[in-house]
């Protein structure tokens, strides 16, 4: 199965992503969901603004997934990242990995989110009560 990569302004649809990667041979699904928190670094967050370098982000995510697939012999993966303005409680990223056995699903899902944060050109501007700033890392 081709991995699913979604970069979108729209709210992320967890159910649709899980549905899309599910396969009768898979016994375990791990979903990671990143959510906009109401606070960060001691500040009260008002909302977030995500910006993406879309063509490159798509390519980097494809590469991360390919690495994970090779390393854990997994097949069914979806990565969705939202951009634009996100309110508290909304999902910025959803990663779904379905595998025959759960251990690989946990490892691959964690690898994908950790690597995505480091290497995919997506930026986050935190708009807090006392001003706004691009968040590094």
């Amino acid at each position: 199965m081709e991995p699913i990569i979604q970069l979108t302004h729209q709210p992320l649809d967890r159910a649709a992503l899980v549905e899309a990667v599910s396969h009768p041979s898979d016994g375990g699904i791990v979903v990671f969901e990143g959510i906009v928190r109401d606070n960060a670094r001691g500040k009260q967050v008002h909302y977030l603004e995500y910006e993406v370098y879309e063509e490159m982000a798509r390519q980097q995510i494809a590469q991360i997934i390919a690495e994970a697939q090779q390393r854990w012999q997994i097949e069914h993966v979806a990565v969705a990242h939202r951009f634009g303005r996100l309110e508290i409680g909304e999902a910025s990223v959803i990663i779904v990995v379905a595998t025959p056995h759960r251990s690989e699903a946990f490892d691959a899902c964690r690898y994908i989110i950790d690597t995505l944060k480091n290497t995919v050109p997506i930026w986050k501007k935190e708009v807090a009560t006392n001003g706004e700033a691009w968040v590094e890392g």
Partner: protein, 82 residues
């Protein structure tokens, strides 16, 4: 030759545009473009020091030679995910 620069996040805020075309000498290196941009926008210095180079959607070292029409982006620290 001409290359296209795109600006994202804090770089875009500083230069106040999303992209521009630059004329550079044939066979210029990424490092040369850095120098050129810092002359034009000195306020980019702190963030450029923490940015890495991308050409045509791939990360590349500063010694990368450029070609006509290349898309160059200096990538500030990312904050995707959550």
């Amino acid at each position: 030759m001409k290359i296209k620069i795109r600006y994202f996040a804090s770089l875009r805020d500083i230069v106040e545009q999303s992209e521009e075309w630059l004329t550079v000498p044939d066979n210029a290196y990424i490092a040369d473009v850095r120098t050129l941009l810092l002359e034009r926008y000195p306020r980019l210095q702190p963030i450029m020091d923490r940015s890495v180079n991308a050409v045509n959607h791939s990360y590349v070292p500063a010694e990368t030679e450029l070609h006509d029409g290349d898309e160059v982006v200096f990538i500030p620290p990312t904050g995707g995910g959550c």
